[in-house]
Each structure stands twice: as structure tokens, then as C-alpha cells.
């Protein structure tokens, strides 16, 4: 049967609600799962989630807008988060940041045109003794140097990480 992307997304969300529980306490886990699969939580997804949980969609939107790991805007397959906190700063985070911007051709807060990479700052992620620290999706990189940046980006391009596969992308297309 032919299904539109919206129908598929709605079906996925209903399955998620079934699995995680039809109550408000499941909201954050549901949103995290949608974020992981689709690299964003669009307005349609928010509406379906709201309908399923019996709450107003603006309630869903207010939660999405509050948390750093939930996004209304489309994100890249690889979300790169560089720690900006003082210990990583003192260990040379500025040079790593510059190199990331150079190699990706975007500045912090932006996503590459091919939707592969999003570059963001993050606050302390508890790796202060091994800085500069960086998170790519769920994977940690420590003692990152400007030279290593290229290597890490290539690694992303070669192996699609934890929640970013071509298959899942095709699924939504």
C-alpha cells in the first residue's frame, strides 16, 4: 500500500506511544526517539504526539524548545557538539572550533547543506580532565586537536553512527 511520509511518521509515533506508554511522563522519551530517527521534531510530529497523549500541541512545542537535545529545526545526521566550558577552553577548544568551521564550511549553530553535519556548542560534558571534549551523536572524543578534526569527520562520513543510517534516511524520504 502506498503511504505518505506523514502517514508513516504518524504510524511510527503511534507505535512509540504504544511501547513507551500513553502518558505525559513518556513525552520526553517519545520526543528523544523521534529526534533520533528523524533528526528533528517537526510540527506535524508534535501534533500527532499531542493527539496521542491528549495534550495541546503547544505543550509539546514548549518542551521541545526547552531542551538542548530536542530540535524543531532539521539537524544533520551527525550532530557535533564541542564543549565550550572553561577546562576545555583552557585546553585549546578555540582552535578545534576554528578547524571544525573550516572543514565543514559552516559556523556554530548551522547545518551543512547536505544535512550531514550540524555544529553546536555544548556546556560541560564531564570530561574536563581530557579536554577539549567533543560529542558526535552519542560518541565521545577526548583530547581533540585541530589535526584530528579531519580524521573524525572522515570517520563519520565512512561509518554511519549510532542513529544515522542511510536506510533510516531513505525511510523518511
Amino acid at each position: 500500500m502506498l503511504m505518505t511520509a506523514h502517514e508513516r511518521l504518524a504510524g511510527e509515533i503511534r507505535d512509540l506511544v504504544q511501547k513507551l506508554g500513553r502518558n505525559r511522563s513518556s513525552l520526553v522519551p517519545i520526543l528523544q526517539e523521534v529526534q533520533k530517527q528523524h533528526h528533528r521534531i517537526g510540527t506535524y510530529a508534535m501534533q500527532v504526539i499531542a493527539d496521542e497523549l491528549g495534550i495541546h500541541p503547544v505543550e509539546v512545542q514548549s518542551v521541545v524548545s526547552f531542551y538542548a537535545f530536542l530540535d524543531g529545526k532539521p539537524q544533520g545526521k551527525f550532530v557535533i557538539r564541542l564543549c565550550r566550558t572553561i577546562s576545555c577552553d583552557m585546553n585549546g577548544k578555540k582552535r578545534v572550533a576554528r578547524q571544525l568551521e573550516n572543514d565543514l564550511g559552516i559556523t556554530f549553530g548551522e547545518t551543512t547543506k547536505d544535512r550531514h553535519f550540524t555544529l553546536e556548542w555544548t556546556n560541560c560534558m564531564g570530561l574536563c580532565d581530557q579536554g577539549p571534549a567533543m560529542l558526535v551523536n552519542d560518541r565521545l572524543y577526548t583530547k581533540v586537536t585541530p589535526e584530528k578534526v579531519h580524521e573524525i569527520l572522515e570517520e563519520c562520513r565512512r561509518t554511519f553512527g549510532v542513529h544515522a543510517t542511510e536506510r533510516k534516511e531513505a525511510h523518511l524520504a
Partner: protein, 392 residues
């Protein structure tokens, strides 16, 4: 190899086995005797919290482990969860027995998602070993734990904001009272304890309150974990008895000659060399979460302050005015100082603003965010006033 001696030496499950054979008041009495205070930063007595939750009347009660370690410069909970997860779950199970809870939640911050698999595996193994689940070790106690992943918000380290997040809301702190021990997750009494508090509680149950009191000072008993980073030769997680001096720590980590030390993370205080002889304990320099960031002579204290104020401006939940606006005003002030354009009278106004925030903010974030600003202004006035150069 773990650097945390006390945790490595603990006999596995000794605390849990002992607690399962004790009455609820006896467990709480033992915790009270030990004098263990919350290791997340607020320093509320652990036994007291358990006692409030134990005496609250409700069908459901929750034991929540606060693993939302977000204070800049703090990473000891990451190490504890990686190397001593069993001890944390043991502590939660002991708390469950003490307050009469059947359900535990480990609130793991989103940035620590890499630890999830290890924690889930540990929980599964504990279920197979009958250390979790129904009728634990034949004691009649039923208790299980699930992992909840946060979504990236520093404020969720505050216990009522954490509960808001669990309930599917924005992580905005609630008014207290009522406290979570009475009205917590979904309205039920909930104990929210820090990772280290729970691991230490398990050690205390295993070896007794008297053993714990052989460490530390009379008012600050036991040992504490410290996350050390910055300009020192050997950064990492260290275990020290409370009451240790700043100078002793600096010697141990190879940070002698430091220009300043930030104790307690971004929300802590900046300590100048003239105070290195002071001790870190609840009665002297507050421990906070036990983080020490060492600043070498080459560091510009305004760089440090700008980094901290940027952080608070970003992470304030925006609910109350002193914190939402105050942090941005202080950040602007730091930028003025850097440009050499801040008059003494304006600096005094900023300090007064900081003091107002400490009193008028709704939760710990805004109450403690001016600490760094105020202590740097107090101790490094010479360095920050009348700048004629601007540094990149």
C-alpha cells in the same frame, strides 16, 4: 583501575545484605549517625531525606538517582557510574528498603548517553543475581530501577526541575516547599540523591557509621570525591577526606603556584592564593559538587568569568527575573570590564545586583551563579579594573 579507594575496597553487596536484615528506622538511624550529607552540592543530610520520605504516607514512593552531573568542571559521577555502577544501584536499593519504595529511576543526563548500555547491562545482571526485582535475596523487598535519559538542560540537576523533566514538562524548578520527599514524581514522595551520595551510603551500610566518621571532620564526615581539572600536572578524580586544604590538593595534583582555584564549579567560589590554607568542608569552603578548576598564572580572570556568565545566561531556565536578567547583566558587566569601560560605581552596582540574585532567585542556579563574579571582583580587583588593553 579505579582511583576511588573507598569504593574499590567496599565488599560487594555487604551494605545491601546488612540493610535487608535491619528495620527501616535502624537503617535511617545508621545514616543519620554517619552524618553523610548530599554530595551533589546542596549538602542536605541523606538520612534526613530518607526519614522524611519514609514517614510520608503514600502507596507509591520513588528513589531517584540524580545523575544529571552538569556543573562545569565536575566529572566524578561519570567515573563512579563507569567504574562503580553496582555500588550506586546498591545504595538505591538500600534507600528503597529504608523508605519503602518499589520503583527507582536513574536520571542520566543526555550528554552521558554513552554510559547507558553499561548501566542497563549492570541492572540486568543485578536482576539475574536477585539483587533487583521481586523478593530481593528472599527478604520480601521488591524494587526495580529504570534508566531515564535527560534531554540536555543543566537546570535539571535541581531536584524539582529533574522531576518536571521526568513528568514530561519543561525543566523549570518548582517552589519548595512542598519538597520532593512529600510531593515528588507524579505527586508521590520521592528521594532524589546524587550518584556519589548513594554509592557512599552503600559503603556506610557495609562498614558502619563509625568507620565513616573516622574520616573527615566532626561537622563534615567522611571522604568526598573531587574532580580536578585545569592547569595542573595530574588532572582526574581524587578521593580526599573532607577538611582537606586547598594547598594539600594542589600539591597532590601538581598544581602548585596556581593563580586561583575555582572550588565547586561555575556556581562555586574563586579562591585566591592567600586562602589556600583554608579547608574544603561544609563549615569552611563549601564543597559544591567537589570540583576544583586550577588556574595558572597566565590565565585572565575575566576570560574565566566571561565563560561562566555565558554559561549561566545560556542555562537559566528563564522562569524568574533575577536569574534570567541578572546573569545577562553580569555578563555585560564582564565585557565592559574587558573593554576597560566599567566605572567603580557601576561595578558596585553589579555586585549589589549579584547579592540580590543570591537572595531573590527561585532556585539554586540563580542563587549561586553570582558567586564566581563576586569572588573574582573581591580578590582580583587589581587585575580587572582600568584595562587599557583588550585581549582576544
Amino acid at each position: 583501575m579505579s582511583s576511588i579507594q573507598t569504593y574499590t575496597q567496599a565488599t560487594p553487596e555487604a551494605g545491601l545484605k546488612r540493610a535487608l536484615g535491619m528495620s527501616r528506622p535502624d537503617i535511617i538511624h545508621e545514616m543519620n549517625e554517619s552524618g553523610l550529607k548530599g554530595r551533589g552540592g546542596a549538602g542536605f543530610p541523606v538520612g534526613g531525606k530518607w526519614n522524611f520520605a519514609a514517614s510520608a504516607k503514600s502507596e507509591k514512593k520513588y528513589i531517584i538517582c540524580n545523575a544529571d552531573e552538569g556543573e562545569p568542571g565536575t566529572f566524578k559521577d561519570r567515573v563512579v557510574l563507569q567504574e562503580h555502577a553496582d555500588l550506586v544501584f546498591e545504595g538505591m536499593t538500600i534507600a528503597a528498603k529504608a523508605v519503602g519504595s518499589r520503583e527507582g529511576i536513574l536520571f542520566l543526563r543526555g550528554e552521558y548517553t554513552d554510559l547507558r548500555e553499561h548501566l542497563e547491562d549492570t541492572l540486568q545482571r543485578r536482576r539475574e543475581q536477585k539483587l533487583l526485582g521481586d523478593n530481593i535475596q528472599g527478604s520480601g523487598v521488591d524494587f526495580d530501577i529504570r534508566v531515564f535519559i535527560g534531554a540536555g538542560a543543566y537546570i535539571c540537576g535541581e531536584e524539582t526541575a529533574l522531576i518536571e523533566c521526568l513528568e514530561g514538562n519543561r525543566g523549570e524548578p518548582r517552589n519548595r516547599p512542598p519538597y520532593p520527599v512529600n510531593t515528588g514524581f507524579n505527586g508521590h514522595p520521592s528521594v532524589v540523591n546524587n550518584v556519589e551520595s548513594l554509592a557512599s551510603a552503600a559503603c556506610i551500610m557495609g562498614r558502619g557509621a563509625d568507620w565513616w566518621k573516622t574520616m573527615g571532620t566532626a561537622k563534615s564526615t567522611g571522604m568526598k570525591l573531587f574532580s580536578i581539572s585545569g592547569d595542573c600536572a595530574r588532572p582526574g578524580v581524587y578521593e580526599f577526606d573532607l577538611g582537606v586544604t586547598v594547598a594539600d590538593i594542589l600539591k597532590e595534583v601538581g598544581g602548585e603556584g596556581a593563580k586561583a582555584v575555582q572550588v565547586g564549579g561555575a556556581s562555586g567560589r574563586c579562591i585566591p592564593p592567600s586562602e589556600y590554607a583554608r579547608s574544603i568542608a561544609y563549615e569552611d569552603i563549601p564543597t559544591g559538587g567537589g570540583s576544583l578548576i586550577v588556574f595558572g598564572q597566565q590565565r585572565d580572570m575575566l576570560d574565566v568569568l566571561e565563560n561562566f556568565m555565558d554559561f549561566f545566561g545560556d542555562e537559566s531556565c528563564g522562569q524568574c527575573t533575577p536569574c534570567r536578567v541578572g546573569n545577562l547583566k553580569l555578563l555585560e558587566g564582564v565585557k565592559l570590564l574587558r573593554a576597560g569601560k566599567c566605572s567603580m560605581s557601576y561595578l558596585k552596582e553589579l555586585c549589589a545586583l549579584g547579592e540580590t540574585m543570591q537572595i531573590a532567585s527561585k532556585c539554586g542556579l540563580g542563587q549561586s551563579s553570582p558567586n564566581a563574579f563576586l569572588s573574582v571582583v573581591a580578590h582580583f580587583r587589581d587585575e580587572i579594573m582600568g584595562r587599557t588593553y583588550s585581549q582576544a
